[in-house]
Symmetry: C2
Subunit: 246 residues, 2 copies
DNA sequence: GAGTGGTCTAGACCACATT
DNA sequence: ATGTGGTCTAGACCACTCA
């Protein structure tokens, strides 16, 4: 039971990628080349390349070729507590160009709808109670990176700018504060899995790219839940950070 | 350019899984069955099943069959702030049996080593300065779920139980507190990607299972970094939670 | 032993990008 | 026009599980 040829080929290529022999953007040897070099059938060479694609290491383009993917993560900071100096010692262990690129919204909608069951429990509402639903897709450099759907009790936010596409300066949380429901605490629950086809489509995900699901709960004074925000992130584009006290 | 047969088959099966028609643990139609039902070649049927496996939805076992995977996550809580009542309204949107199963450690080592470059910066040390390195693998119900490697400045922890396999009651942080370096703040940086073969091996990962990489930085008073902990989690087994103030 | 998934081959046709 | 990746087929052999 020696490792099968397609795995050996994949292992070779992977090592070359991780060693930097094939840097980000470099063209990976084509199927035909692999067929010659390793003396295997075309399908076997394809399978080797498919392994790397499934690992998120490469990206194949029909007609062009297969290239090594590059990673330029967006830094998502939550619960920032520490000062800039403390950021200095204690910075990322991942060497990343954490440039702050501007984020845009390309498709958005705001609707009042009956509350879905799983959200109702979190908001302390009955299933089907009216909630305002804010739906958005975020882009960086023209490419989608995150989907977000936010739920707020209709009774709480009726008449405010939260029910309009443009929620105004400071956004939803600023409006909540004006209504006397300023968020004081947040809980974020995080799951990770491979995307469903619809998610892969909406985020234009390459093969081998997981998604991060974040459910964010915002609480006002006395622990009153005021918002649930379900987010879906392209995992290959994010470096997430949380800070909290001991 | 209609969707190719293998995708149609995969779509059919995926819908049946997500609809609950094929519940967790259920046997997915075998290659032979699919060959008959859809009148395709065996390789085409295989490819359809491979899609589902790559999505983490199924698990194939040679000789046995392909089954729908089940999701029984471990809840990992960080920065717990809110009370139990607030947990009540605002609970998970993912219906999950969050039983607290006991966690064991099966392989552990403690060594003094020169500090790797990427850790040195975070700990405010020179590269190569002596650090104690605590290495562990965690199991739940006999299966590995997390790898963790912790780095502490040798000068800070020399002579304490931190340098021994059994760090004593309360663990590393309790010992740090006794030494006058009680952690007061934490920063956790999180990345997600598909595993390298070595990681897949160490965590016994099925196909289509991402890993979560958490780099945890512990700070004592005045923002002095006292520990860096690099963790690798089986993404399919964790539900992570962070809480923090506005 | 029958059925299951895992791998490989040789050959074919297609869609697409680059030259 | 050539080369690239994407898909499909028919047939083969193997390793494993389960009854």
């Amino acid at each position: 039971m020696p490792t099968p040829p397609y795995r050996r080929i994949a292992d070779d290529l992977r090592r070359r990628i991780l060693d930097g022999d094939l840097p980000p953007g470099a063209v990976v040897p084509s199927e035909n080349v692999l067929v010659e070099q390793y003396e295997v059938a075309a399908e076997t060479a394809r399978r080797a390349l498919a392994v790397l694609a499934a690992e998120g290491l490469t990206e194949a383009r029909r007609g062009s070729g297969t290239r090594v993917r590059s990673f330029r993560p967006i830094l998502r900071q939550a619960g920032r507590r520490l000062s800039a100096e403390q950021w200095g010692s204690g910075r990322s262990v991942w060497q990343a160009d954490l440039d702050q690129r501007p984020m845009a919204v390309d498709s958005a909608s705001v609707d009042q709808r009956p509350c879905p069951g799983r959200i109702a429990g979190a908001l302390g509402l009955e299933e089907g109670a009216p909630v305002w639903v804010r739906d958005r897709r975020y882009l960086v450099e023209g490419a989608p990176v995150m989907l977000a759907t936010s739920y707020l009790p209709a009774e709480m936010v009726a008449g405010s700018a939260i029910t309009r596409l443009d929620s105004g300066p400071g956004g939803t949380y600023a409006r909540l504060a004006e209504l006397g429901w300023a968020p004081t605490d947040f809980r974020e629950q995080v799951r990770v899995r491979m995307p469903l086809p619809e998610e892969a489509l909406a985020l234009a995900l390459g093969a081998g790219t997981p998604v991060v699901l974040i459910a964010r709960f915002a609480f006002a004074r006395d622990g009153v839940p005021v918002e649930v925000n379900e987010m879906t992130l392209d995992a290959s584009r994010y470096l997430m950070e949380w800070e909290f006290p001991a």
